[in-house]
Amino acid sequence: MSEAISTRSEVKGNDAKAGRLKFANIGRYTLVLTLIVIIVLTAIGNPRFLSTNNLLNILFQVSALGIVAFGQTILLVSAGLDLSVGAMLSVAGIVTALTIAATGSVLLGVLAGLATGLVIGAINGMLVATNRATPFIITLGMMTFLQGVAIIISGGSPVNGTGGLFDFIGFGSLATIPYPVYVMAIVLVVVFFLLRNSVLGRYAFAIGGNEEAARLSGIPIARIKIALYAINGLIVGVAAVVLTGILDSALPNMGTGYELRAIAAVVIGGTPLVGGRGTVLGTLGGVLLLGLVSNSMNLLGIGANYQSAVLGLIITAAVILQRPR
């Protein structure tokens, strides 16, 4: 009899698996399909769109957003969230620029920026781990706080001039590919393996899927959360250095709006806000969608007044097509 049972459950297994694969792929395919449609339409409207130069430009343009979104993916997988990344970006960027201005050393500036991100991220992690309030509201409070900090430390004005950082990040390229694109790629690969192969990544999924079960399995929830938020902070620090380099300056509001765009990219890429699931490759798709749409609207000459409406329609459509009931 136990054979009969086993056959059945085998069948069940395969059925379910096949079904799941199909389902998961519908989502992925839709995103890829949406990307392709946009590319084709834009290419028809403006052949220059497909020039290597423009494609590299797109990658260059999304690099900071991409980096932030990759970090946010780690958090969303663990059912976390950090709304303060935009403000953190501003603070870390200002610290970078101020340090370079004060010491003349790009290296020190970069280290200071990274450390700032790491420390703020760890603080966020500690607040989230030791409180029952949702990360949404805790990091919303931190976002407001950090926006204030950015204004205070910058004196409310742009901090200009980053010397060698600008020459390297803003202008440097290897094999015609700008350095920020490499930085984005490295962060992508690191996050990919972190989520897929590392124990920490596994715990992120476990906490996101069922925190109580994870706790009962002996996973040190608080420590893991702090680690995840700290890593996210460090990644935001990387983005801050990149963005400061690209702009050759740091502005108190340069990160404004990054949080929502990053989260949008992650969710469009298939990671749900409730956690337990997600891939950073999906996030890359989401980031490319946002970058492509903006690029293609400008290339197609869609007037300034209409861009927000069109972008909104495309985001909504992409999301809806991806997950019909």
Binding site: Q61, G156, P158, L247, L251, N298
Partner: protein
């Protein structure tokens, strides 16, 4: 006396105005309380109410929006607190306020358009606009186009994209415009912040010198820097520093009765190019500079140009 200085948002422009007023107030023995509306009309109204509660003697305000200040003025009027606007003119309200000082928004882009038209006789021109929805960005573009046409140039505006007063957005937009129009002759951006981003994109595309970059407003320190470096051809400067000091002194005058309320003043503005960059009024003035502004004769009221609002 105690005066409220209200900024519309966190942008550096207001920061420079605020710092200049604080320096001037120190020299004139007044106290300044500062408020930030964070670009939110409701918060602005709340700030005005709160300042009234606090008992300030006058309010100096960079309004969040052009001409939506009826409510704010009504509040101040009811409480008998004079309110002086550095932005947000509405002809109907002139007799209800201590005064208005503003650049002439609809025509502010005109001289820039003329300047570009005189240099670029034909070819493609693009515009990167500030954040839409407040009324000024739209006006700058219109004025610019008018000036371009009036200059007799055959240059044509081929692209208008949003830059939201944001360096990064302007950087990206410039790169995209240059992709779509590699033969672009000139680029008009609405302020110096976006000019910084645009100049980086032009440089990255290897087109420094090929594309004429013009900035619509500001004359900010980083804009002047660009002009000195030859990366920005012109900026229509409207320093918040000297303007705010003058507005503050006018408000003081209204309070002590030496200035007649309800008048309109032009905010100081100059077209800054490489030739006169050293004469530009600084945004971050020294004490001495402020002392000079404090002693300068007050500006004369003018009749606002028709259509100004």
């Amino acid at each position: 006396d105690t005066y409220a200085f209200m900024r519309a948002g966190p942008d550096p422009f207001y920061q420079y105005g605020m710092e200049a007023v604080q320096m001037a107030a120190e020299q004139l023995g007044d106290e300044i309380v500062t408020y930030n509306a964070n670009n939110d009309s409701t918060q602005e109204l709340a700030n005005i109410q709160d300042a009234i509660t606090q008992g300030v003697d006058g309010i100096l305000i960079y309004a969040v929006s052009l001409s939506s200040e009826k409510a704010a003025i009504a509040q101040a009027q009811r409480a008998g607190v004079p309110i002086f606007f550095e932005y947000g003119y509405d002809p109907e309200l002139l007799d209800k306020v201590a005064g208005f000082m503003q650049i002439d928004v609809p025509t502010f882009g005109v001289p820039v358009g003329k300047f570009v038209g005189e240099t670029v006789k034909e070819g493609k021109v693009a515009i990167i606009s500030g954040k839409l929805g407040r009324g000024d960005a739209e006006a700058y573009s219109e004025g610019f186009k008018k000036g371009l046409t009036e200059s007799g140039s055959k240059a044509e505006v081929v692209s208008e994209v949003p830059g939201d007063w944001n360096r990064q957005m302007a950087l990206d937009a410039t790169a995209q415009i240059l992709t779509a129009h590699p033969d672009l002759k000139a680029l008009y951006v609405h302020n110096d912040d976006m000019a910084v981003g645009a100049s980086i994109a032009i440089e990255r595309a290897g087109k420094t010198g090929e594309v004429l970059l013009a900035s619509g407003t500001n004359g900010a320190p980083y804009g002047l820097e660009l002009i000195k470096e030859g990366k920005l051809a012109v900026s229509h400067a409207n320093p918040p520093s000297s303007a705010s000091v003058m507005a503050y002194r006018l408000l003081k005058g209204v309070v002590d009765g030496s200035v007649e309320p309800g008048q309109y003043y032009d905010a100081p503005s100059t077209m800054i190019t490489k030739d006169n960059v050293d004469e530009a009024q600084p945004w971050d003035p020294s004490k001495e500079q402020v002392a000079e502004w404090v002693k300068m004769p007050l500006p004369e009221p003018v009749k606002p140009a028709p259509g100004t609002n």
